[in-house]
Point group: C2
Chain length 158, copies 2
């Protein structure tokens, strides 16, 4: 296989951008992710690729729950702030106001919509784990077109 072709074709896959968060006791972690897709209507499942050596994945492994904040078209700055390790100060995580969701992680005040999931299966084969989870809660705060990763000029894939 031609490594350049592999990189190029895998970068043709289109993504949105999301801040995925989990909490366990006092620990809250959150990270920007793009490898996320629905995976079943009934039950409503999603699948997400999580970096195995990330803080967020370690917390997901403990709590087996997570929250996905869907980012709006103009929220590139939020995506950028969650490339960094998670730091909670008062009611802010990485500088953004949040509230904890039920058993998931941080719900960002600025997120136009979010959903919470309960992990059902994990495939631990590559440098990212495939985490399959059932959607157990969902909220739409306001109608806002979601972000396309391609519009940001960033790539995570290849």
């Amino acid at each position: 296989m031609d490594a350049e072709a592999k990189k190029k074709v895998l970068r043709m896959i289109n993504y949105g951008l999301y801040v995925l968060s989990a909490k366990q006791d006092a620990q809250v972690a959150a990270a920007t992710v793009n490898w996320l897709s629905q995976a079943s209507f009934n039950p409503p499942l999603v699948m997400v690729g999580l970096k195995k050596d990330s803080q967020t994945y370690q917390v997901v492994l403990k709590s087996m729950h997570f929250t996905v904040n869907v980012l709006g078209k103009e929220q590139k700055n939020i995506a950028q702030d969650f490339f960094k390790p998670s730091t909670v100060e008062g009611s802010k995580i990485n500088g953004h106001a949040f509230a904890p969701s039920g058993s998931g992680g941080a719900v960002l005040d600025e997120a136009p919509s979010w959903f919470e999931c309960k992990v059902t299966d994990i495939i631990d084969r590559g440098d990212h784990a495939v985490v399959v989870a059932e959607v157990i809660e969902a909220k739409v705060i306001r109608d806002e077109p979601p972000m396309f990763m391609r519009d940001t000029g960033w790539f995570y894939g290849g």
Copy 2:
């Protein structure tokens, strides 16, 4: 959980559109899919949600290989043609010229790029299976911006 909110928020996830194909002996099947994402850099894995009662999934289960044709921005007509069951006539599948890839399925002549995968894991939990597969071949025929599902006005999710 509010079913309307769940539907709305899951439809905020952004996707591309792809024709996924598999073959086993003389049988070639292909279907339009959007629940597809990379899932690891090393090894290069993808994850895809395949409808369990579809012909294409049945062939994937037998061959444990598939090919993903990445559709370009202007190829909505091709996506539409693979919503239908697969019909092969001569060197055409659903009216589109193709060649078989190594151990995968149909490579469409019109596809700007494609990659071939070997299945490594399957999670059979919902109405779609989560199929995880390693990318073993990749070709870029021409540079062409990929299709956004959102631009088509179609949704498959919610």
